[in-house]
């Protein structure tokens, strides 16, 4: 078993125990995105594309500074721009880096049917293994953040890897490194939460943002990407950050109770017909000659 496999704590579509479960001591890594110091420069967008050698997309102007409406299979990191008027007539220009949130309880992984196409390492990174991806797109359905994107040519789904290649070699993710203002920060989840809470407190105490807070949604078990928001009561204003994300109930229903019910039903059906055969046997044609080719 490779060292890498030992570092896997969740595997999609996997039957039986996880080979490396509980086998490694490792801190959870986390990206902190402080939206209050994001200047929407898009350095992270390009750093991501450059590091991952992703092809550039042809875009068109759409009355916004935002590069494109949503992340794409070749564009894993998108700053969302939102003009937000305030009550006093002034305005805010909210910018938020949108990317895979690396949920502790990842909806994509829960939805994925392919063994090992999505794994979660012990450091919390949720990574897609495209050579095992079958292209069903269930992960797209499972994600509460609209992140994984399908490439129609390769028929595979792609998203932010949290630069697992860099992180595994002791480097920070490319976006984190690039961020000019330091609105992006990288470290252990504990440290980032601590930093985020301190910043939120500073915003409340010194900058008049009474509702400043940290976004680390419990509905998905917390995320490997956490935000500091000026107004944590209204994450939707930041380009549709869901207020209370969780794995869609449909996916949960589908993947757990319905699956077990279905399995039981199918098994029951097979057992039933078997028992029926054992008890009653085949119908033979009576009333005269019997079926010749029984």
């Amino acid at each position: 078993m490779s060292q890498a496999t030992l570092r896997v704590q969740k595997i999609s579509g996997h039957a039986g125990p996880i080979p490396g479960e509980g086998m490694q001591r490792e801190d959870q890594v986390c990206k902190l995105v402080d939206t209050t110091t994001c200047i929407g420069c898009k350095a992270c967008e390009i750093a991501c594309q450059e590091w991952n050698d992703l092809p550039f997309a042809q875009t068109t102007f759409d009355n916004t500074y935002q590069t494109m409406p949503t992340t794409q299979w070749n564009f894993w990191n998108l700053i969302k721009f939102n003009e937000q008027p305030k009550e006093d007539g002034t305005m805010m220009w909210l910018m938020r880096k949108d990317q895979c949130m690396h949920c502790a309880d990842p909806g994509c992984l829960a939805a994925c049917p392919s063994d090992g196409a999505i794994v979660q390492y012990t450091n919390g990174i949720v990574d897609f293994q495209q050579d095992r991806c079958i292209g069903c797109g269930y992960c797209i359905t499972g994600c509460p953040f609209n992140i994984p994107k399908f490439n129609p040519t390769t028929k595979k789904v792609y998203k932010c890897t949290l630069c697992s290649d860099r992180v595994s070699q002791g480097l920070e993710p490319a976006c984190i490194k690039a961020c000019p203002t330091g609105c992006l920060h990288f470290g252990t989840k504990d440290d980032m939460k601590d930093l985020a809470e301190k910043r939120a407190r500073q915003l409340r105490e010194h900058y008049g943002f009474e509702n400043a807070g940290v976004y680390d949604p419990p509905g998905v078990g917390g995320t490997g990407v956490i935000y500091v928001l000026h107004d944590a009561t209204n994450p939707e204003a930041y380009g549709g950050l869901p207020a209370n994300p969780s794995i869609p109930w449909a996916v949960r229903l589908w993947k757990t109770p319905l699956r077990w019910l279905g399995n039981l039903a199918m098994l029951g059906g097979l057992v039933g017909v078997t028992l029926h055969y054992l008890r009653f046997g085949p119908k033979t044609v009576h009333n005269g000659e019997s079926e010749k080719r029984s």
Binding site: T37, I39, F61, E83, W93, M95, T181, G182, Y207
Partner: protein
């Protein structure tokens, strides 16, 4: 920048105006964010648009473009009226106490004393200090003692007026003609009501900003520091220099100059704009800010006499007057230029230098090319058609040139002016210009040094060879020069001496190594040179340790005195990579090398009080060390190191006064010793301070048929400003697929209300027309620019980024309209810096 990028983290208060560092200098802007994060610093952004900088500011004021002096003047007034000033600093470190000559008049009618309407220039003789001693307590006398018969006489003198050696002063600042009282009087007109009418900033918002910015001096606090950060949003106006002067005045009033976290910080635009200015890539300078000789400088002596200032100060004070060393810098420069050919006998080859008698600046090149006197143009990495102003005029000018040599790495608009949009095949046949387009090397393929806006010289290494047939820029210039020299050698011609005798001591003359050149710039001893104080000797042939070693007797050579010390016998100081920061102030003394003499914060003597103790002990940079009788500290003291504070040597050692100039005497600026608000050349309103003198009186309009200026009466009723985006770099990244992806097309930012009036929606195409041309781009309808009330009238501003032309990825794919933004901008410049007014002009907006 007086300070540096990292130093911004030490500030408590930021005023960002005329700049958009979050977009244009994102990596430097991190230090502004650090100040917010670590010091709870506040950030005020004043900009015509709600920019990405404004998005992280604590306060954004939307200002009408080109009215910054009115706003800053209002701040000056507020600070004085509310006693939010650094009194000790003001008295001791500025010329606030200096008394101005009788006869000097403030511009209540828009004109200072001495204006000559015929020549559109000032006789500046009254803009001077009065001669005399301590006038403290003599304020009741009413007037200072004027220098008998001085004014009126200077105007006709062959030698320009000089500063008096013994300046009259009043340390109580009560004398009615002292600089402080004049300053108060000048800006007393800049009331919040007036500021509102001119700038469009509502009074309550102005008050909020003024109160916040000056709060650092609330209740006599001297510990806190504020910084002012600006960029081309200030310089690219017909009153650009004076806007920056107003900021300097405000910072001197508040005692913020020379201190960590303070200063007046020009972000500068591009990689080596600072270096290009230092190295005199501009017509009016020689390297190291030596003034260029003019025809009246009939000898080196006359030249040196003219450009070497003498101390001018109150009698008991001292002034170092560092420019007093000018002859050493100039002679050493001539020795570097012409080597052995420059000798004492031939005035160090002074006559080899061209003498400049008028404005040869950027727009004059195009004007005179259009008029036919400029026959040939070298454009190396300089896309003049795109840069404008008035791209059309530049294209027309190029049609009249004999030849054009373009050195570039991408196909650019200037080299292809002859096939710019609208030129017919017939017309093309008529264009007789020969154009050479030479493939140069990119940054990664060259070594050499850049100087950033914090004055750091940083050596970079070549990572790979140039592709294809590309050649290094220095090789191309060397080869052209050597070819010209060869022709003059063989054939003779007009005054060939300077060409034949130019020092060209490089190992491979056809491809000089930049390290050789860098060593030449640093300077070396041509004979053994001894330092009189330490008796140390630099031997002939050795690199000089610093400009303190320069001599005016020909025993030293130095290409640029301010860079002396960058490549010493100890090696390339500009390539140092020490990451230590012992002070924690972000000085990094061992990283690269900062001019002058590795000093990171200019005027840092002013970070201490008169006794030499830091204003804020928690941010101490340098201080007077009584025990060793020396100035010591984390930074290199910008001062005479052994000058006891008791000597009262002025901290602004480059000024003949030794102190900071609230009042700019005589020749330093063309348009007034104090800044005054003038409207941009194209403005929707008359100047509310003096409607009869609306524009800057010394600003000249050009006069070819192409130089047109629009008015509201002609329908140009919308204010337009131009700017850059963080995703793009000038006219370069339109060749970069990554940047084109981020922002693919040109656009016009239009206030939502204006869009409703004109009937346009976001993404639709609009036509913007100025008196000079029109462009077509998509509309970005936004609430980030609001309509403004200017003198009671609803006024709209729009904004256009400048990055697209007719060659580029999107352009070549036909996704854009091929209309450079600078087709719109006017050919008018600031009278001091000659920078065009790109940032404010009039247009009309229509739906396409």
């Amino acid at each position: 920048m007086t300070n540096g990028w990292i130093d911004i983290k030490n500030t408590d208060m930021m005023l960002i105006e005329g700049g958009n560092p979050a977009e244009n200098h994102p990596c430097g802007f991190k230090w502004a964010i650090e100040a917010k994060r670590n010091r709870n610093a506040k950030m005020i952004v004043v900009d015509p648009r709600f920019t990405r900088t404004a998005a992280v500011a604590d306060l954004h004021l939307q200002i009408r473009t080109g009215t910054d002096i009115a706003f800053l003047g209002g701040l000056v007034r507020f600070a004085i009226e509310n006693s939010r000033i650094a009194k000790d600093y003001l008295v001791n470190y500025t010329n606030a106490a200096f008394i101005i000559r009788d006869g000097f008049k403030l511009p209540d009618d828009g004109l200072y004393s001495g204006f000559d309407p015929a020549t559109q220039t000032y006789d500046k003789s009254t803009w001077n200090y009065a001669e005399g001693g301590d006038m403290s307590g003599k304020a009741g006398g009413g007037t200072a003692v004027p220098h008998a018969g001085s004014h009126g006489q200077d105007a006709h003198a062959a030698v320009p007026p000089a500063l008096p050696e013994n300046v009259a002063y009043d340390l109580t600042l009560q004398h009615p003609r002292c600089v402080f009282q004049l300053l108060r009087q000048q800006y007393s007109r800049y009331t919040p009501e007036m500021v509102e009418k001119i700038t469009g900033i509502p009074q309550d918002q102005f008050h909020k900003a003024a109160d916040l910015f000056t709060s650092i001096r609330k209740d006599g606090d001297t510990k806190k520091v504020g910084t002012i950060i600006y960029s081309v949003g200030w310089t690219q106006h017909s009153s650009g220099t004076q806007t920056i002067r107003t900021a300097a005045i405000l910072q001197l009033l508040l005692g913020n100059v020379g201190r960590a976290g303070g200063g007046v910080n020009a972000l500068r635009g591009h990689a080596n704009i600072q270096g290009a200015t230092d190295m005199a890539g501009v017509f009016d300078l020689l390297p190291g800010y030596l003034k260029v000789p003019n025809p009246n400088d009939t000898s080196l002596d006359a030249y040196l006499k003219r450009i070497t200032p003498k101390p001018s100060k109150p009698g008991p004070w001292q002034s170092m007057n560092y420019w007093g060393n000018t002859p050493k810098f100039a002679v050493s420069f001539l020795r570097a230029m012409f080597g052995p050919a420059a000798s004492k006998e031939n005035d160090w080859a002074f006559d080899y230098l061209p003498k400049v008698d008028r404005n040869y600046s950027w727009i004059q090149i195009w004007d005179n090319m259009y008029r036919g006197s400029v026959k040939g143009l070298f454009a190396f990495g300089m896309n003049g058609v795109m840069i404008g102003p008035d791209s059309k005029k530049n294209i027309e000018a190029l049609k009249k040139a004999d030849w054009l040599v373009v050195g570039e790495i991408y196909p650019d608009e200037t080299s292809e002016f002859w096939k710019s949009p609208g030129i017919t095949p017939e017309e093309m046949k008529g264009i007789q210009t020969t154009v050479y387009r030479l493939p140069c090397a990119g940054f990664a393929e060259k070594d050499g040094s850049f100087t950033n806006s914090a004055r750091w010289l940083q050596w970079k290494n070549a990572a790979l060879p140039p592709p294809g047939d590309c050649r290094l820029d220095q090789a191309i210039v060397a080869q052209i020069f050597l070819k010209v020299r060869e022709l003059y050698q063989k054939e003779g011609g007009k005054f060939p001496d300077p060409i034949l005798k130019l020092a060209w001591p490089y190992g491979d003359p056809h491809n000089p190594s930049l390290s050789e050149v860098a060593k030449e710039i640093n300077g070396k001893a041509l004979a053994d040179v001894t330092d009189p104080a330490t008796k140390l000797v630099t031997k002939a042939g050795q690199q000089l340790p610093s400009f303190a070693w320069l001599r005016d007797d020909g025993s030293t050579s130095c290409g640029n005195w301010i860079y002396s010390g960058s490549w010493t016998e100890a090696g390339p100081q500009l390539a140092r990579r020490g990451t230590e920061d012992p002070s924690g102030l972000g000085i990094y003394p061992n990283w690269a090398w900062s001019w002058p003499v590795n000093r990171r914060v200019l005027y840092n003597r002013a970070s201490c009080d008169v006794e030499g103790k830091p204003w804020d002990p928690s941010r101490r940079q340098v201080w007077w060390n009584e025990s060793v009788q020396k100035w010591t500290g984390h930074d290199v003291p910008d001062f005479k190191p052994d000058s006891n504070p008791k000597e009262h040597l002025g901290p602004f050692i480059m000024n003949p006064e030794g102190v900071g100039r609230l009042f700019m005497p005589i020749g330093a600026v063309a348009d007034g010793p104090f800044p005054e608000h003038y409207e941009p050349i194209e403005s929707p309103v008359a100047n509310l301070l003096h409607p009869n003198q609306s524009n800057n009186p010394v600003v000249e309009k050009l006069k070819t048929p192409l130089d047109k200026y629009g008015t509201v009466a002609e329908g140009f009723n919308i204010i337009c400003t131009t700017y850059r985006l963080t995703e793009h770099y000038h006219y370069w990244t339109k060749n970069n697929p990554a940047n084109v992806e981020l922002v693919p097309e040109p656009f016009v930012e239009v206030p939502a209300e204006l869009a409703d009036e004109v009937g346009i929606r976001g993404g639709e195409k609009v036509k913007v027309t100025s008196a000079r041309g029109e462009i077509i781009a998509k509309a970005m309808v936004t609430r980030r620019i609001k309509p403004m009330m200017i003198d009671g009238k609803k006024t709209y501003q729009i904004g256009i980024p400048i990055h697209w032309g007719y060659r580029g990825i999107a352009e070549d794919e036909g996704r854009t309209a091929h209309t450079p933004t600078n087709l719109l901008s006017p050919t008018v410049v600031d009278p001091n810096a000659f920078t065009p007014e790109f940032k404010g002009f009039l247009v009309k907006l229509e739906r396409v």
